[in-house]
Symmetry: C2
Subunit: 233 residues, 2 copies
Amino acid sequence: MIDIMTAKYSGEYVPPILTVDGVVLQLINNQLNVLLIRRPEEPFKDYWALPGGYNAQGETTTQALNRILRAKAGFSVKDFALVEQLYTFDTVARDPRGHAVSVTYTCLGHNLAPKTSKTTQNPQFFPISHLPKNLAYDHADIIKYAHDRLSAKITYTNAIYALLPKFFTLTQLQKAYEAVFGRELDKRNFRKKFLDLNLIAPTGDLFREGAHRPAKLYKFNKQHLETLSRSFD
Amino acid sequence: MIDIMTAKYSGEYVPPILTVDGVVLQLINNQLNVLLIRRPEEPFKDYWALPGGYNAQGETTTQALNRILRAKAGFSVKDFALVEQLYTFDTVARDPRGHAVSVTYTCLGHNLAPKTSKTTQNPQFFPISHLPKNLAYDHADIIKYAHDRLSAKITYTNAIYALLPKFFTLTQLQKAYEAVFGRELDKRNFRKKFLDLNLIAPTGDLFREGAHRPAKLYKFNKQHLETLSRSFD
DNA sequence: ACAAAAGTGTTAAGAATACACCCATGT
DNA sequence: ACATGGGTGTATTCTTAACACTTTTGT
């Protein structure tokens, strides 16, 4: 093994490849969806993958994330209501081009629509429950990890706000939780418990759609991450 | 901004410096302690710092962690009962030598004693409640972050096993929780709740010390991380 | 006999769960 | 009038929290 300190000072220190991947999640039709791109080249040519790319010197990982999501899927990190670091993966075998370290981020938003351009790589949202079979690298594991973390996070923080529109009904809120948890919740208990948290307030407006009683609209008091006093569900 | 993909294939891709830091924690006299080294050179010469160093190409971050902890503090990752990734920090300003990305790990153990050698850098344990004032970089923040994460982790996992000896008394266990939480717990409630989790079993042996009733010794059923059904405290 | 830590139960308050009907609207 | 989703309360079980004395040992 080389002496890394010596190597550095004699100009021989060579860092591993550093990459950044984004796990972009949103709700579509009350289902949790993830953004994938189609890889235009080897390795894993024509496989679906999380948007990702190289992190260059002088760039922070979030700057790299922003650049990569813009180039490959037409998104800016400003399109997301919440961006959080997920995990840093590294294995020698992970990338056939050699040893790589990948910093992954989870990006949450609402009504996200990829804008295609010359550089985008066929970005599309897929329901997490029905991912394509040909997923590149270990991206299926990373998506599962992101899902698990999100599921935990919405139980002890207000993170669910990032998946909802600014104004929403209690039923929408409940469906959002159900989509992430993957199970149904009791309506009366859900409302009682959630309203007790004082995270949301009624706007006074009503949401009308279809032949039934209109629903009260609510909004979150805080649009940034907060840890709950009592955890939820 | 350079075209990173093109740069790569024309051999121009230059990754940032990648470093790895370890937050080594253990209990000493029922106090949570962290391992620091004294920096032998600039930047932050003679400041106390978390042991850390460069991650070279071909090394995984845990391999780098192992190499660095061995060189600077005489530890092997095998000395720790639990090693977990903490967070990946990156800011251009973090390291005066230029943009760096640092992957940090938390290492938990019991009865850890640094072994000094030619390469070690005066490794010493400090109580988290009384850290030296001259801490390098943002290491005070990183230590606080590790502490917060550990505090959360021991409430929903069995991670506390990693801070205890193989055989321990219920009082030792309670003191370990109290040391991490930074507050006292009720003895009767603690025992009732913890024993209900079925994480530990009595060994049948007794621990005698001093002029008082001897204590039953227990051991953890699993010496690896487990998520609890009901979270604790 | 004394000092010191180990060990042990009950009560009260709060939280979680299970569960079914009326309300307001559009067609 | 009917179909549709919105909205609401109570009883039970479980969990948490508060609290003090007896036991076993070494000196």
